[in-house]
């Protein structure tokens, strides 16, 4: 296989999400960052093929994630809607992830590369749950929304898919927000507007 370099792509927040640190009482409660050029693929099972799609996902990733849950590490598979998956990858070459999924799923599902059509915002910090609760009614308490949980919801009236990547007792939770590209700037403004009351830091994308 020829050596492929990771995709380099400017997301819709290039030039908008600039490194910033706004402290409140000498601290920050929110950390925002943009993973560089994530690969974002949606796959919906074809009619009557949901069971077979789930089997193929299980063969490759160990099991099919439960509704509202995700599985995987480098490549994350989110069961985000009935018979529908959202797959996230990082550091992949352009089109590599969707090609891999097409080969895996074959006739059972139709993977669509949304890497250019969606934006991924990473939201962390001790106050991340508090911030999100301003915009969504999803119960984010750790008992009902543990690490790996995902939910499609409205956040400040903007449709997003929420994913809890990790939840560290000291550093706080880390959420990924997947949003339609055209709404990314509005969502970013909304997030910054809420983040001001906690103090926040925006870190530059790596590379």
């Amino acid at each position: 296989m020829p050596e492929l370099s990771a995709a380099r792509r400017l997301g819709p927040l290039a030039g908008i999400a600039l490194p910033t640190r706004v402290e409140l009482d000498g601290g920050i409660g929110i950390r925002l960052s943009l993973p560089p050029a994530p690969s974002i693929v949606t796959a919906e099972a074809r009619r009557g093929a949901a069971v077979e799609m789930a089997q193929r996902i299980a063969e490759r990733f160990g099991r099919m994630p439960q509704p509202g849950r995700s599985i995987g590490e480098a490549t994350l598979v989110l069961h985000s809607a009935p018979e529908t998956l959202l797959i996230l990858g990082e550091g992949r070459a352009e089109g590599e992830l969707v090609a891999e999924l097409r080969a895996l799923l074959g006739e059972t599902a139709s993977p669509v590369d949304n890497s250019h059509g969606r934006a991924l915002i990473r939201l962390g910090g001790a106050k991340a749950r508090e911030l999100l609760s301003f915009g969504t009614a999803v119960d984010l308490a750790v008992e009902s929304f543990p690490p790996g949980a995902c939910a499609s919801t409205l956040l400040g009236h903007i449709a997003v898919t929420l994913l809890l990547r990790s939840d560290d007792p000291e550093a706080g939770p880390v959420f990924d927000l997947v949003v339609a590209r055209g709404f990314a700037e509005s969502l970013w403004d909304w997030l910054i507007g809420r983040a001001r009351r906690f103090g926040y830091e925006v870190t530059a994308p790596a590379g």
């Binding site: 809607a81 009935p82 119960d139 939910a151 919801t153 409205l154």
Partner: protein, 96 residues
Amino acid sequence: MLIHCPFCGARPSEEFAVLGDAGPKRPEAPGDDTGSDPEAWYDYVYLRDNPRGVHREFWQHVGGCRAWLVVERDTATHEVRSVELARKATAGREAS
């Protein structure tokens, strides 16, 4: 009003879009051997029940998983009695 989406769990009604009456059933198409009744078509295209009380309605979880649902609710009290995926609720319709 909270709607318990079978996939997503309890969500506020703002996340949903309502289509209305889940009752209408598409009549036989014109030209079928069974014939088609213009009155049945008029009913199907234009007439909708709008009761005060228990009603079965189509809702779509457009701000979430995007699934179409059949919600049985009381239009006077907003009590939601049952929610199911529309694909399940209408399965077998065509066969019947």
